[in-house]
């Protein structure tokens, strides 16, 4: 399974020659020095001496070894060297041009989010944001940036969001799903207040380390369990956002659930509605059934798309969610990349195809034409 198969430019069907949106692209640093223009000497020295640990035990590398070096496609290493995702020119050729990406949302990882030292976390996130402007969005107008926030310090996060309130290169706020407390906790409310104020959706990308085991029954043994478990973390986070009243308080706030699957959404919505109905004396602040908040305020990026056999079962799920809920994403340059030419393995209407590949994204991301 480790051989590299060349992915020749497919003779894509005419419809996929439409420009598409990609809700999850991961730009990478060439090295730590990329951030130095925006990082004080104090923090450069601090990282050199103490590192930047983020609630897991290794000095470098993820808690569970990934399945591939850098969790990346083996064909995504730029010819000039450096990590997959670190070369704009190579990304343009291999992905943006080849797949007709007209709107690409940058979701930088390893950007200081969840770093235990809160001031360092804030400094790294800010450097990441400036780096996105300098190295990416200013060089390719198809790419849009996410305001990476040090979410465990919500006040610092709100400051960072407002700093880019008037900068059209930034189209969403980025959090990770593995927070220290559930996403709806009041601790994080200044983030939602600021995001609603500047009109950006809050994207919640799978991963991160909040200090809690990735299952509520303790630490599992395998990477496959962690990867599968990101879905349960997202479900818990979304449950919390609804029940703790975030959507009730900020009715214009949009949330985008990134890279944790989406086929679980109908079942979670049914379950929430059923038990909210029984237990609603506990949350009298909620004015609607949980599924109604979801319908109004939550979207999902598609990758990694569930792959039932037969594939038509997925069509049932999308029907239950609504074709207006999904934003196509590839996760470039990571190993579990979804290819837009094969993303919809069943017959869909032209209207559904356009919504899935572009229209929904334009409506969600700030200033993208919705």
């Amino acid at each position: 399974m480790n051989e590299i198969r060349s992915q020749a430019l497919s003779e894509a069907p005419a419809a996929s020659r439409l420009l598409i949106a990609d809700g999850d692209i991961h730009p990478a640093k060439k090295g730590a020095a990329d951030f130095h223009p925006w990082l004080e000497k104090r923090w450069r020295d601090h990282i050199d001496e103490y590192g930047s640990p983020a609630r897991q035990g290794w000095q470098a590398g993820p808690a569970f070894p990934k399945s591939q070096p850098n969790a990346s496609r083996r064909d995504a290493y730029p010819p000039e060297g450096g990590r997959p995702g670190s070369s704009l020119a190579f990304m343009q050729g291999q992905h943006l041009d080849a797949n007709s990406v007209g709107l690409g949302i940058l979701n930088p990882l390893g950007s200081g989010q969840g770093v235990q030292n809160p001031a360092l976390s804030a400094a790294l996130c800010h450097a990441t944001n400036e780096w996105q402007l300098a190295e990416w969005t200013s060089k390719d107008s198809r790419l849009k940036a996410s305001v990476v926030v040090p979410y465990e310090d919500a006040v610092a996060s709100a400051t960072e969001i407002r700093r880019y309130a008037d900068n059209p290169a930034f189209v969403q706020v980025l959090m990770l799903s593995r927070t220290a407390e559930p996403l709806g906790s009041r601790k994080y409310w200044p983030i939602y207040e600021a995001a609603a104020e500047v009109g950006m959706p809050v994207g919640v990308h799978a991963f991160g380390y909040g200090g809690n085991p990735v299952t509520p029954g303790g630490w599992p043994s395998y990477y496959i369990e962690e990867m599968t478990g990101h879905s349960q973390c997202q479900q818990a986070g979304l449950t919390s956002l609804i029940i703790e009243g975030v959507f009730e308080k900020w009715p214009s706030l949009k949330m985008v659930m990134i890279e944790a699957g989406f086929a679980w959404a109908p079942s979670l919505a049914w379950r929430l509605d059923k038990h909210w109905k029984t237990l609603r004396s506990e949350t009298p602040e909620l004015s609607m059934a949980p599924s109604e908040y979801i319908r109004r305020q939550v979207w999902w990026t598609t990758q990694p798309m569930e792959e039932p056999e037969p594939r038509a079962h997925l069509e049932d799920c999308i029907g239950w969610m609504g074709w207006d809920r999904l934003i196509f994403a590839t996760d470039y340059p990571h190993w579990d990349f979804d290819d837009p030419a094969q993303a919809l393995p069943f017959r869909v209407s032209e209207e559904q195809r356009r919504a899935f590949f572009m229209g929904n994204a334009r409506g969600v991301y700030r200033g993208c034409g919705g």
Binding site: M1, S67, S177, R178, E181, G210, N212, P213, V214, T215, P216, G217, G218, W219, P220, S221, Y222, Y223, I224, E225, T228, G229, Q232, C233, Q235, A236, G237, T239, S240, I243, E244, A263, W264, A265, P266, S267, L268, W270, R271, L272, D273, K274, H275, W276, T278, L279, S281, E282, T283, S291, R295, P304, E306, E307, D316, C317, W320, G322, W335, D336
Partner: protein, 369 residues
């Protein structure tokens, strides 16, 4: 995903179940620690008094929450479902079921002392035999075990297994470590040896936060989150190879919901295809493993608001053998006797209520005269 706000059903005494139906999840209550005193050893009886040990009532079911006991099943005083006569009338006569499996939810799994957990598990199991099984012939039970210490758990399984009215072993869905982890395997070996199913019920030891992203503010989040805990335990048991090692083991997920199952299997199967090099002993697709070894109780039906969508979900499950009838008595999951969703085809109803439970619990029919 429209809101499901049904009008309350009028009480209806026709449960519409076929003869011989089996309820796989009811919850007799320990009325108080006093009721266990005759079954505790001298040392622990003394400890209860000297230390003022309180009721082991877990926050998984707050005593007065609307979910913990349906209004018309509440007792005039004290805990619901604590009287064998009342349970016989409400849970068995009320639905016309022929057998019901008692899963006692007393907070033994929460204890930090393994000795105390073992002592209280013995007391609860002996109390179950004397106060329930001996007095109501339609009852069967699950063995409560001190999961805190696997050797003690296996001792308790071996001790109770002689009584064939114990048909399964009861575990909670959230403990200290995932249930697939190898240190739990002696429990599964004992289950296979004795022909006992392993029943994993909603609830937590609360030794880890009840969500993978920390402690929630509301009980509603805790209860909704049980479904995610079941998903991760299924992942764990499959990935660690429990069913490769114990191919005859039957694992039953109780009060788990079931509508999450297809989507979860799609995701797990996709990653299994990509990452099976990490777990090469898993030589069958996760969906195939579930269809041969895992079952889920019916209630609560976290289902879609319409029958057509529910039927689609059954299609997504790709088997009519997965669900086992349950009322989840006395928890409030439905009104009247409407435990079985209305409109299901008769052959599916029969599978859920009769055939599937019989095929799952090897001991179930051995004790029927």
């Amino acid at each position: 995903m429209r809101a499901r706000v049904d009008a309350p059903r009028e009480r209806d005494d026709m449960a519409g179940l076929p003869a011989g139906s089996i309820d796989c999840d009811i919850h007799p209550s320990v009325p108080s620690v006093q009721a266990l005193m005759p079954y505790l050893e001298d040392h622990w009886r003394e400890q209860v008094i000297i230390r003022g040990i309180d009721e082991l009532n877990s926050i998984s079911y707050p005593l007065n929450s609307p979910l913990t006991c349906r209004a018309d099943w509440k007792a005039a005083s004290g805990r619901p479902a604590a009287d064998v006569g009342v349970v016989g009338r409400q849970a068995l006569d009320g639905f016309g079921t022929s057998l019901a499996i008692a899963n006692c939810l007393y907070g033994i799994q929460l204890l930090f002392s393994e000795d105390m957990a073992a002592a209280f598990a013995r007391a609860v199991n002996d109390w179950m035999v004397k106060e329930w099984l001996d007095r109501e012939p339609r009852l069967r039970a699950s063995i409560v075990v001190p999961v805190q210490n696997v050797e003690m758990a296996v001792d308790e399984i071996n001790r109770c297994a002689a009584d064939k009215r114990f048909v399964s072993i009861l575990l909670l869905v959230m403990g200290d470590t995932p249930l697939g982890r190898r240190h739990h395997w002696p429990i599964y070996a004992a289950a296979e040896k004795h022909g006992l199913a392993v029943s994993i019920h909603a609830g937590s030891a609360y030794h880890n936060p009840p969500t993978p992203v920390g402690w929630p503010s509301y009980y509603t989040e805790d209860y909704v989150g049980q479904a995610q805990a079941f998903q991760t335990q299924l992942t764990s048991m499959i990935c660690e190879g429990v069913f490769t090692k114990f191919p005859h083991l039957k694992v039953v997920l109780l009060e788990s919901g079931f509508t999450w199952l297809p989507a979860h299997l799609w995701r797990l199967t996709k990653y299994w295809r990509g990452l099976r090099m990490e777990i090469p002993w898993v030589d069958r697709a996760p969906g195939d493993i579930v269809r041969s070894n895992v079952r889920l109780s019916l209630q609560p039906v976290d289902g879609p608001p319409d029958l057509a969508s529910l039927m689609k979900l059954f299609e997504h499950m790709q088997s009519d053998e997965l669900l086992l009838f349950s009322t989840d008595y006395p928890h409030y999951q439905f009104d009247g006797t409407a435990a079985m969703p209305e409109g299901l085809p008769a052959d599916l109803v029969r599978k859920i209520a009769v055939d599937n439970p019989r095929a799952t619990y090897a001991r179930l029919m051995e004790t029927v005269g």
